[in-house]
């Protein structure tokens, strides 16, 4: 294709058109976060459902200009109502709960909506209908631009204007802004929070649905839209600045143009480019381009702050009993269960390493799969290209991931709370897109195969013992670290940045090291995992995997040292039970939601409340 001026203009306009849908979904996310402090992961799902519902509504209304636009608006209203339903039935019960649990409930909704969409709308990608009257193209100096793109370009500023009026010129808007800027203040003013939250949820979901619907003629509808969109919307919200609607537009345009022009320069790495921009913006302007320091920074995902207690005699006895059970397991169960137990042990180690960051470190990572998957890929690549023996690969993988974690950590520790969590997600997506898009080296979607253990460890029972030794050893070492000066320093950094600084401790440096330590152990788990499976695929680095680990930690309870193990066991067992059924994501999502509602302290946390006295130290 000729690179004339017209070409560049069209490329630019395409970027603007792409920005529109992204802006709509991002500003919905931003509005909901601002008022309710919920990071709504289901927002991408709202977007996806908006596209599907619009497709069927437009088809139902049959032809005609009116039908098209009516279908789009109606689809957005339907999605808005779905959002209200979720808020009223689920999230409203959780407003007092820790932010992370709310986040998790919304991830449950993602899974549920994914499977429901597959069931209702089918697994095939749908091609969107054309907009009547806008089906043609305009010729810009020799290059064609679809007319519908022009409509898209106009819609975003229009909505931006309407939102601005709504937020600045109505009483409702003033309440929304007050709640966003100062939650306690608006509490004190006696604003009816419940109604405000519900209405904001409606508007936010409506905008997401509208975004999905208007991009239908361009992008159609498919089942991958939910997670792809939520990741992009995060980027837009964070780059633009949490809570800033003009910021969201600016960022959407930047991301849109980046996609449009980036594909010309780096056709293989458009995803990497987007997340790289986010990382750079956050390092230079930690609160986003137009964001203010206040909004969002407070959401710190704080775990309960209990004084650390060494394990009591009874707890040690319980641990010993478990060890004996693990030792004799190969006699009791078959190979199949041994493989499952191996997997549980590795996930337990990985989630313990996440807990190490989250609990004592107070740093939530949405991207722990980067470290786990990174370890798996590091080992697999070593074996595949350098014929490295297993022993060396399992040793090198954690070190390489530790290095990776140190680099990622260096960026992330400049931020805190949700911003930090989102940056970890961004970096995990960078890692994921590298292995996904760089097919020649990593095998891309097909993964790397035939990565088997050394001869001596190839027996399932031997490998079982090897895994148990390394993962239980790793878990105990991590637990020991929590009681050492470094572990205490991490907790000090979590408790009070001000105090830490005034007693001469470099907070960023210690947090960065905590990233590295967590990375080493997650990398060890990943390195072993690849040998237990014999292969590795990009899924090990993808968002759902990161959330698996988060869920294991939360399931166990963030305030307990052995929670992650219980969480990993429960989750992996559960996953194994349901993953053979057809709609397992639906089931898993429902379980997530129910567990969060029933046990806001996690399983072990809840046991702690009931049985804590029994296991407590008697000498205090």
């Amino acid at each position: 294709m000729d690179r004339t001026l017209g070409f560049y203009i069209v490329q630019f306009l395409t970027g603007l058109a792409d920005a529109s849908a992204l802006f709509l979904v991002a500003c919905g996310l931003s509005l909901i976060f601002g008022v309710s402090r919920i990071v709504n992961l289901a927002h991408g799902s709202f977007y996806m459902v908006g596209a599907y519902v619009a497709y069927y509504l437009i088809g139902f209304f049959s032809e005609g200009g009116c039908a098209f636009w009516a279908g789009i608006v109606l689809a957005a209203v339907v999605v808005g109502l779905i959002g209200v339903g979720i808020e009223v039935l689920l999230l409203r019960r959780l407003y007092g709960a820790p932010e992370l649990f709310m986040l998790f409930a919304t991830f449950g909704v993602v899974l549920i909506m994914q499977d429901l969409s597959r069931w209702l709308f089918g697994a095939e990608d749908l091609l969107g209908p054309r907009a009547p009257g806008l089906a043609g193209s305009v010729n810009i100096r020799g290059t064609l631009l679809p007319q519908y793109d022009l409509a898209l370009i106009l819609i975003a500023p229009l909505i931006l204007g309407v939102l601005w009026l709504l937020l600045n010129r109505t009483r409702w808007g003033i309440l929304v802004r007050a709640a966003t800027e100062d939650r306690e203040m608006s509490d004190a003013l006696g604003v009816n929070q419940t109604r405000l939250f519900t209405s904001v949820f409606f508007l936010g979901s409506f905008l997401a649905g509208l975004g999905g619907a208007i991009q239908l003629p361009k992008g159609g509808a498919n089942l991958l839209m939910d997670l792809n969109t939520i990741a992009e919307a995060f980027v837009v919200v964070v780059v633009g600045g949490m809570g800033s609607i003009p910021g969201a537009y600016l960022a959407a345009v930047i991301i849109g143009e980046l996609g449009s022009f980036g594909v010309l320069v780096f056709p293989e790495s458009t995803l990497v480019l987007m997340f790289l921009v986010m990382a750079v913006v956050l390092v230079i302007r930690p609160h986003g381009l137009l964001g203010q320091a206040g909004a969002g920074a407070h959401v710190a995902f704080r775990a309960a702050e209990a004084v650390l207690q060494p394990a009591s005699k009874k707890l040690k006895l319980l641990g010993l009993a478990c060890l004996v059970l693990i030792l004799v397991m190969p006699v009791l169960v078959g190979t199949f269960q041994l493989v499952l137990l191996t997997e549980i042990a590795l996930f337990a180690l990985a989630s313990m390493s996440l807990y190490f960051m989250m609990g004592p470190g107070g740093m939530v990572s949405f991207g722990h799969a980067a470290f786990f998957g990174g370890g798996a890929y590091a080992a697999a690549l070593l074996v595949h290209y350098l014929q490295t023996p297993m022993e060396l690969a399992v040793l090198l993988a954690p070190l390489l991931v530790g290095l990776l974690a140190l680099i990622i950590g260096w960026f992330c520790v400049r931020l805190s709370g949700v911003y930090m969590a989102m940056l970890t997600l961004a970096f995990a997506q960078i890692c994921w897109s590298i292995v996904f898009q760089w097919g020649e080296v990593t095998g891309g979607d097909d993964g790397l195969l035939s990565i088997w253990p050394s001869q001596w460890a190839s027996d399932k029972i031997v490998f079982y013992y090897l895994t148990m030794i390394l993962s239980i050893g790793g878990i105990l070492v991590l637990r020991y670290f929590i009681f050492t000066p470094f572990g205490y320093t991490m907790r000090a950094c979590r408790d009070s940045a001000l105090r830490v600084d005034s007693i001469g401790i470099n907070l960023a440096r210690h947090q960065c090291l905590a990233f590295a330590v967590a990375g080493v152990f997650a990398g060890l788990a990943g390195g072993l995992y690849v040998f237990s499976k014999g292969s590795v695929f990009p899924d090990e680095m993808a968002i759902p995997r990161s959330f698996d680990f988060l869920f294991m930690v939360l399931l166990g309870g963030v305030e307990t040292l052995f929670g992650p193990i219980a969480g990993a066991a429960a989750f992996t067992w559960l996953h194994d039970q349901i993953s053979r059924t057809d709609f397992w994501q639906l089931i898993l999502g429902c379980i997530f939601v129910l567990l969060v509602v029933a046990f806001p302290q996690g399983i072990v946390g809840s046991i702690n409340v009931r049985w804590g006295r029994f296991f407590a130290n008697q000498n205090h």
Partner: protein, 257 residues
């Protein structure tokens, strides 16, 4: 005598508010210097400028002969500066003892150690500090459940952990009863005399100030209005106006004679 702290023409504004306006003073070793002034006078801002938490708009700060403008609090701490906060700031998930141990771990450059358990590190040294400030009996309690006055003592123990030469205490006796206040200030004077350190403190109880301070500086709306010995300050007309005229003084009344 060496100058511990020299503040020259210090200024800091927040938006339109000139919180600290052209303030200069000095502090020598072995001296207890009180900074007084009504609420909002800029006292805490002065503290934050001196320990590096805030960056001054203008002026210079010299601690032990080193210019510290723009240095981070942790670097200022390394020069031998301890500080307590107006609103107490401790590690709430740790016990009283562990809070002090944390400061000692930092002082002994052990914060990155992954080998020994904290339970056995610097316990005696920490207990000595806790005994000094009078809360050794509460050493095993979590800081999160302590009374406010006790937290102030924990902060003092933490601030003393790096054997500071300069101690900055922002309202060290807030939340304490009158008897406890004088007792804590007597303790502070004793530390000043025996260790030959310098203390800059703020305090609303004028009895405490005039009994214990060697020198006093008075701030009002960010400006330094008077400085000198207690009797000089007491005789100062401007100071009397600030304290008597407005009637807004928190704490006890200004002792005129």
């Amino acid at each position: 005598m060496t100058k511990l702290l020299e503040v020259r023409n210090l200024a800091k504004a927040f938006g339109g508010i000139q919180a600290v306006d052209n303030v200069s003073f000095e502090l020598e070793a072995g001296q207890l210097l009180a900074m007084i002034g009504p609420n909002g006078a800029g006292k805490s801002t002065c503290f934050n400028l001196i320990n590096g938490q805030l960056y001054p708009d203008r002026g210079g700060i010299t601690i032990l002969g080193q210019r510290t403008n723009g240095r981070k609090p942790r670097d200022v701490w390394k020069l031998g500066v301890g500080r307590t906060f107006q609103i107490t700031c401790t590690f709430s998930s740790m016990t009283v003892l562990e809070n002090v141990q944390m400061a000692l771990l930092s002082y002994h450059k052990q914060t990155r150690s992954l080998f020994r358990k904290v339970r056995r590190l610097y316990v005696n040294e920490s207990m000595e500090l806790l005994e000094l400030v009078g809360i050794a009996a509460q050493s095993r309690r979590a800081c999160g459940v302590l009374a406010y006055g006790d937290l102030k003592r924990v902060e003092l123990a933490v601030a003393l952990a790096n054997r500071p030469k300069l101690l900055l205490m922002d309202e060290p006796t807030a939340g304490m009863g009158p008897a406890e206040r004088s007792q804590l200030m007597e303790l502070t004077s004793a530390i000043v005399r025996t260790r030959k350190i310098g203390v800059l403190f703020t305090e609303h109880d004028m009895d405490v100030v005039f009994t214990h301070a060697d020198r006093i500086i008075v701030l009002n709306r960010g400006e330094l209005v008077a400085q000198g010995t207690p009797s000089q300050v007491r005789a100062n007309v401007k100071v009397q106006e600030i304290y008597l005229g407005t009637g807004k003084t928190p704490g006890t009344a200004f002792p005129t004679s």
